[in-house]
Symmetry: C2
Subunit: 464 residues, 2 copies
């Protein structure tokens, strides 16, 4: 990490004349007017330098690209630094120091561990930490009070076995999915606080005083952290989830169109690979939806926005994406259908794919402006009509091909037909997957409509 930090602090480290010495020295040498002779030596130092500089410039470029792609990540780094600098003042400045005492350390620690990229993440950790510190601390004080009524040997046994039992049970409960999802961090902090207070209570007499001090510093840490997180360029998990779903829906629409184009034109379409993003974004969707549930109302999203329904939309999209994956592999099958058959079906198939992807695009537009669409039901109807057209094109396929090939009354008829069914297999598969995809698109439409109902999308017309 130290290396990384140095590199990103000086983004252009020594790209040329550094045969002589490690990168840091270069500027010095040039300033001193070093001789040209050294520049022509190709010793191991030069080779090492080249390797290092290549590696360093790769890293710098990568970091630079990462920052340029999403400047919010840079801002997040600065926010953490700022929050820490602010909280450090509690230590440095004497009046504040007298106020919170040596426990100010807990404020620093709180900021470091609960400051997350999204507001939801920080709230989740902050609220978990606050609740777990309160309950864990309270319980520990209670146990300590009971233990203090007994003699010293029993006190040790009671305190130590309570730590053992509580730690075991709470650790086991972390495996429960519902607890894992919402209170995983809280469970850790609960065990931590309970152990620390129970254990330190054995030495420190003023237990309640200590607990109170610790709570106030943790409260300071949490509030500074949340204020910085929410007031300076906040990153909302909810908005991110919303945008991710919209972006994925567009990608799905494009890759569907792309696959069909690729198949019928034979040209590689880059956009045809977009469905892979949809397949791989389950993890992001789930974690964003979990975090979004902790967030207050922001932007167009109310307090109890139905974030879990976004996961349903995501699941419907993934089910569609699996079909596109199969479509993609069937379009790259070794056996290729005769051009004639392809040409016959291409129009209907392209129409169906453009109707399906049109419906997806309309959905993403609806979600973007959070309006329900007037023309969506028409689009779905058109999509279904396009399916019927594909079906009738399929029905008219053998006649037409046979006619054009002039095989109608030929003796070789049967052989050719057999051949043609074999050859048409990938095409038939392709077409039938395309029809399957339109069914899956209907599933996405239903999921989005349900979302629209739950989130009370505005009834006005779509933007098209």
């Amino acid at each position: 990490m130290a290396a990384t930090s140095k590199v990103s602090a000086m983004p252009l480290p020594a790209a040329s004349t550094m045969q002589v010495a490690p990168p840091e020295w270069r500027v010095t040498i040039i300033e001193e007017g070093s001789s040209v002779k050294i520049e022509h030596e190709f010793g191991p130092a030069r080779r090492a330098y080249l390797a290092i500089s290549t590696k360093a410039s790769t890293i710098v470029k990568m970091l630079w690209r990462m920052g340029a792609d999403d400047p919010r990540k840079v801002v997040h780094g600065l926010k953490v630094g700022f929050a820490l600098a602010v909280v450090s003042l509690f230590y440095y400045l004497r009046p504040l120091y007298d106020g919170v005492g040596g426990a100010a350390m807990w404020a620093v620690m709180t900021v470091v561990v609960i400051f997350e990229y999204t507001v939801g993440g920080s709230l989740y950790k902050g609220l978990n930490r606050a609740a777990a510190t309160l309950t864990g601390g309270g319980l520990a004080v209670g146990v300590h009070y009971i233990a203090s009524k007994t003699d010293e040997a029993w006190e040790l046994v009671i305190l130590n076995s309570s730590v053992f039992i509580l730690a075991s049970v709470v650790t086991f409960s972390r495996f429960v999915p519902a607890i894992k999802r919402r209170f995983d961090y809280g469970a850790t902090i609960f065990i931590l606080t309970f152990s620390l207070v129970a254990v330190s209570g054995y030495r420190v007499d003023q237990l309640v005083n200590l607990a109170q001090q610790r709570l106030s510093t943790i409260a300071i840490g949490i509030s500074i952290c949340l204020m910085v997180c929410m007031l300076i360029c906040p990153v909302w998990a909810g908005s991110d989830l919303h945008c991710l779903i919209i972006k994925n829906m567009d990608k799905l629409a494009e890759s569907l169109e792309g696959c069909v184009e690729e198949y019928f034109s034979g040209k590689e379409a880059q956009k045809a690979r977009g469905y892979k993003c949809v397949i791989n974004s389950k993890l992001s969707e789930d974690s964003l939806a979990n975090l979004a549930a902790w967030e207050p109302a922001h932007g167009p999203f109310g307090f109890r926005h139905p974030w879990s329904q976004y996961q349903q939309v995501g699941a419907a999209m993934r089910s569609c994406a699996y079909c596109i994956e199969a479509l993609h592999s069937s379009s790259h099958s070794e056996i290729q259908a005769p051009e004639l058959m392809k040409r016959h079906l291409s129009e209907a198939c392209i129409k169906l794919s453009s109707k399906s992807s049109g419906a997806l695009k309309e959905l993403s537009a609806c979600m973007e402006c959070m309006q329900s669409s007037e023309c969506l039901s028409d689009m779905v109807k058109e999509m279904k009509e396009a399916v019927e057209e594909v079906k009738s094109a399929m029905k008219s396929l053998p006649t037409q091909c046979n006619n054009e090939l002039g095989l109608e009354k030929d003796d070789d008829n049967m052989v050719m037909k057999r051949q043609s069914l074999m050859e048409s297999m990938p095409l038939v598969t392709f077409v039938s997957l395309l029809m399957e995809i339109s069914v899956k698109v209907e599933g996405v439409v239903e999921a989005v409509e349900k979302l629209g109902g739950l989130a009370e999308f505005k009834p006005s017309g779509s933007k098209f």
Copy 2:
């Protein structure tokens, strides 16, 4: 959590006679010999009790099932409790207390935060914590030394701005995927330690002494934690990953067979859904593979076992599972192929599916005993032959059907044929996906063979 703990401590709470009062009261009331009258009242208390007892018994059953399904989770809870109880002794017992001082708190904290379910997880966190504490603390002492050479105002500026800069840069670097995967926890601890030492250094004179004390306690915490984790019923991420892949491969084989059976027999086969597990286990595979890389040699796995190749095997299996998902939806299509055609193809298809799933089962058996298989290449050859048989069955399909239907010279011939192509679409799709699946199975075979080469599987014959 408190409720959970109580419930799981007494696993059979009041399954029968508890109409009177909430669960906790029952024993008391019975002991006091309470009147029968109360048992027949159906007031709000009774309703509340019923609701609570139903809920409680659900939770208990769920926890019980969870523990019974995987007793290692219960053992993990007990291990954490044990490690904490041991480390607490450092606080309780006076001689030890004098040795490590008030910093013993850090040992407790270390155990709580680095004790993970798998050995790999604990090692990852433990090593990260140790390295980050050393580097962060060392750097902070250095910065502090420089700052102490200046006057007080400058000292404040230097310390505070170094906290700001380092925290920003390290936080940003956490977004780099490679750092995120391996050093995410270390980055947090680095910032934490640096801030704490830099900040507390301003007050505490004996900085080096403090740092040394803290390091020794953290070392105690890490060693207790790792010893308990590795010596008492260790859970190895590596073995878990190995078993997960094997189990998923069996599921894949079963669900392939199940889908084909379901299609041709028309009966629901429960095992046909197994492929869904394969689709959903990417997250587990990735995290287990990351953690396994931290683990020392254990069982049959050497120190540099190629864990990342398991991810490749998993990816190949998922690509196969997507195809089975498409197969599954095509087998539930609305249009059903004529029984005649289905019957004609069923034998070849069932043979192909059993050859494909046989190859998968052989692979899983190979992986289980970590041997390379002698008969695998034969099985793949047989699978390819089965593909050819399916193809020739497809070729002979139209003739046969037409013959049996007696339509060869009929005038309605064309109409029937059109109808039959339309009707045969789902069947053709099904068959062609089945052939595609055999290609994907070859991909899995290749991935496993590469794994076998990297992990040096024993060359002996397979167990069949």
